[in-house]
């Protein structure tokens, strides 16, 4: 009815215009060379831009991701660069965003959608659990859902209620979802590119307190590495990283807890204790090999996560390590997690969050006298 309806030729014309703009922005980006001080926000933003440039079926949508560039600015500039057909705002309805993405993924697109905050993703829970996770299995692989659901998650930002939940356990518990969570700026780029490439749906959990963390990163080199890996059919999915080498005990952490674990390891080093830090990176699929190799070497482990400990990812890691490393363990595995209370108000969150001191206390408890 409306004269502004997309006709076939207009749609194609628009996509080519957007592609031309994208090429221009790529040329501009190419001027900067070598490692630069980059935030995780910039790495994530560049990952989406590069993926959209490489593949016209990659679309970005959600609430406020268009003109505003997202409440955290992670999608900044994507609408201007790629046009309103490829980066756009939706009505304010999370189930609608995820459900529409399912249909688009069924029909040849690779949607990358944003849930504005962890707790705002709950209205979409049915779509995620009953369809995103199960469509591939239900159709015996006839329908793949190559979609990424980006979830800014976890606390430490002084947020009001419903803005700081660690919701990864809900998704990790659901068969059929991959769950990624980057802890470094470089992984922000690398892992988001791999999530977008994945033919399986990925819950991409972004630790919002790390959005503005900086590192010296060469995004061009990362992009080249990604292109080479993809051509070789390899990926870092399912591989944990040794974030710091050590010999006395292993700290196992992911997402927002990795910098805390590294700080604890640095403090322990001053006291003469050598702690290894494992960054889990992809909760699903989980890298049993790297984690167990480390614990077998050190004989002691502490698992650290912001989420409530009861029935959590941290609990699952403890169980898995115990099953595989029992005879190499010198002490029971400890957990340092959030308490089993609703995420607290800003003035109380520092009591709740795993801290360097609480981690070091747990390390001290690992029966060193044995």
């Amino acid at each position: 009815m409306s004269p502004t309806i997309t006709t076939s030729s207009e749609a194609n014309g628009n996509v080519s215009a957007a592609t031309a703009r994208a090429a221009a922005s790529a040329a501009a980006a190419a001027e900067a060379r070598g490692p630069q001080s980059i935030t995780m926000a910039k790495a994530l933003n560049t990952a989406m831009a590069d993926a959209m440039r490489d593949d016209s079926s990659v679309l970005v949508f959600g609430e406020d991701v268009g003109r505003l560039g997202g409440v955290f600015r992670i999608t900044d500039g994507l609408m201007d660069t790629f046009g309103e057909q490829r980066c756009f705002d939706t009505p304010l309805a999370e189930s609608g965003i995820v459900g529409m993405a399912v249909g688009m993924a069924m029909n040849g697109m690779r949607p990358v959608i944003e849930m504005q905050f962890d707790a705002f993703a709950y209205p979409a829970f049915e779509q995620i659990v009953s369809h995103v996770a199960k469509m591939h299995n239900r159709t015996r692989g006839a329908l793949k859902l190559p979609m990424v659901i980006r979830v800014p998650y976890a606390g430490g930002i002084g947020g009001v209620e419903h803005h700081c939940d660690s919701s990864e356990s809900y998704y990790a518990h659901t068969a059929g979802l991959k769950v990624f969570t980057p802890a470094t700026v470089a992984d922000g780029y690398r892992m988001l590119r791999e999530a977008i490439d994945s033919d399986d749906p990925v819950m991409f959990m972004e630790p919002k307190k790390l959005y503005w963390s900086k590192d010296q990163v060469d995004l061009e080199a990362l992009a080249a590495e990604h292109t080479a890996n993809r051509a070789a059919g390899s990926s870092s999915e399912g591989r944990a990283a040794v974030a710091r080498s050590g010999t006395d005990a292993t700290l196992i952490a992911y997402g927002p807890s990795v910098p805390t674990a590294l700080a604890a390891a640095a403090a322990a080093a001053e006291e003469g204790r050598s702690l290894e830090v494992i960054d889990v990176r992809t909760i699903v699929p989980f890298d049993d090999d790297t984690v167990t190799a480390s614990v077998r070497k050190t004989g002691r482990a502490v698992v650290i996560a912001e989420a409530h400990g009861f029935a959590s990812v941290a609990s699952e890691i403890v169980a898995r390590v115990q099953e595989r490393c029992f005879h190499q363990l010198a002490a029971p595995i400890r957990r340092v997690t959030g308490f089993d209370v609703p995420y607290p108000a800003p003035k109380l969150e520092h009591y709740y969050l795993p801290s360097v001191d609480r981690i070091l206390d747990a390390v001290d408890d690992l029966q060193w006298e044995n």
Binding site: T90, G96, G99, R138, T139
Partner: protein, 401 residues
């Protein structure tokens, strides 16, 4: 140009409606004052003035070939429903939510679409799934007990029959959106029932489709009951079709037991959607003649008198009488169609009665595009269990010799 066009173009839309139909945009979106009904329950064609049509809500009678093809599917659909219910009674199928009494809706929902168009059905829409071309046994596999699916949705552009209410409406919106972005003229028809209109995803799907101006036809089969709960407990809107105007789309209601009217209304809805008029909502006024499923006892919540009243409005006898009065059907034709229906029933008995071998390793094969290390471990564990079970059986057999 923008894809979220509708908010910015209300004035354009109003003027286009005015030009195309000679009515205001409100009169276009609001359903006609009465439901569209062309053939009366006794099979006689209603006078044009009494068909419920109005300026801007006009529906020509579908062509003879379409009517005959639809009638054949109607007869097959009834036979499919009754055969499946019989298979449940015989214990050969776990459950079957029958669309007995709603077959006209089922047939029209599939027939209004072209080959490249998508259909998103619910668990009660197996007859529509078959009418869109899916093999009957594949369509029923979901109830056979060995697989949650049964067919490749891409092959016939038919979603898997969806159990969580109205969640599939959003998938329909997404398929239409992707097609529109590529400049394709695909139309998507999404089905749900009256109870389902209470769900949040119903609202979100209609709103998304309207805001993005997508070619989706939402087709509500108002069969009056959500298991036991009557329509009056779901909605007090003047009609379910009236919900359309709240989203900025056109709504229409139609006699859901009048196949002629259903085809007329849905054909036009699909045509308008394909031409770029945006989404439409069609409510079919029908009745669930049988219990929700075999596990349900409908005598606890409705009177026999009500069921009998609807039996007199049966879509099959109505269409039979109408086609014979038009000279489009005779005894030979009816016999040939009955034979076809019987062949499909035989196909179902054979396909669903057979002892389907299950493959335990399929548990792990399709969770992801490639199994994770954890799934490979679990798959090996199950394989080992099964191997030991087989070895045990073989040893017993040997000992028994």
């Amino acid at each position: 140009m923008t894809i979220s066009a509708s908010q910015e173009s209300t004035a354009d839309q109003a003027s286009e409606v005015q030009r195309k139909f000679g009515i205001s945009v409100e009169d276009y979106m609001l359903p006609a004052r009465r439901q569209i009904q062309m053939v009366a329950p006794d099979g006689t064609l209603k006078p044009h003035a009494e068909q419920g049509t109005e300026p801007g809500h006009e529906y020509p009678i579908p062509g003879d070939a379409e009517l005959i093809a639809a009638y054949e599917r109607l007869v097959v659909g009834r036979r499919v429903n009754d055969q499946n219910s019989a298979l449940v009674r015989q214990g050969r199928m776990a459950v079957y939510p029958s669309s007995h009494g709603q077959e006209a809706c089922q047939v029209a929902a599939a027939m209004c679409l072209s080959d490249g168009d998508w259909l998103f059905p619910t668990y009660r829409d197996a007859v529509a799934v078959m009418a869109k071309g899916v093999d009957p046994v594949q369509a029923m596999t979901i109830f056979r007990g060995d697989w949650h699916g049964g067919y490749d949705p891409q092959e016939h552009k038919v979603g898997i029959q969806c159990t969580p209410l109205t969640t599939q409406l959003l998938h329909a919106v997404g398929v239409a959106h992707a097609a529109k972005l590529r400049g394709e003229d695909t139309v998507v028809l999404a089905m749900c029932g009256d109870g389902a209109t209470s769900e949040g995803d119903f609202h979100e799907a209609l709103n998304f489709a309207a805001v993005f101006h997508l070619p989706v036809v939402f087709f509500v089969q108002n069969n009056k009951y959500a298991i036991s709960v009557p329509l009056s407990h779901q909605s007090v809107a003047p009609s379910l079709a009236h919900k359309a105007v709240g989203y900025g789309m056109a709504g229409e209601r139609v006699d859901g037991n009048d196949l002629v009217a259903l085809l007329a209304v849905l054909d036009r809805a699909v045509k308008l959607a394909r031409e770029g008029s945006g989404p439409l909502l069609v409510e079919a006024n029908t009745y669930r003649m049988q219990a929700h499923t075999n596990a349900d006892d409908d005598t606890r919540y409705r009177d026999n008198a009500e069921v009998s009243e609807w039996k007199a409005k049966d879509p099959l006898s109505r269409m039979d009488t109408y086609l014979r009065s038009r000279g489009l059907l005779d005894d030979d034709g009816a016999a040939r169609i009955a034979e076809h229906a019987e062949a499909v029933a035989t196909q179902l008995r054979d396909g669903l009665g057979e002892d389907v071998p299950v493959e335990p390793q399929n548990l792990f094969r399709y969770v992801f595009s490639a199994p994770t290390p954890q799934l490979r471990e679990q798959s090996a564990l199950l394989a080992d269990e099964l191997a030991r079970e087989e070895a045990g059986k073989a040893a017993q057999k040997e000992a028994g010799k």
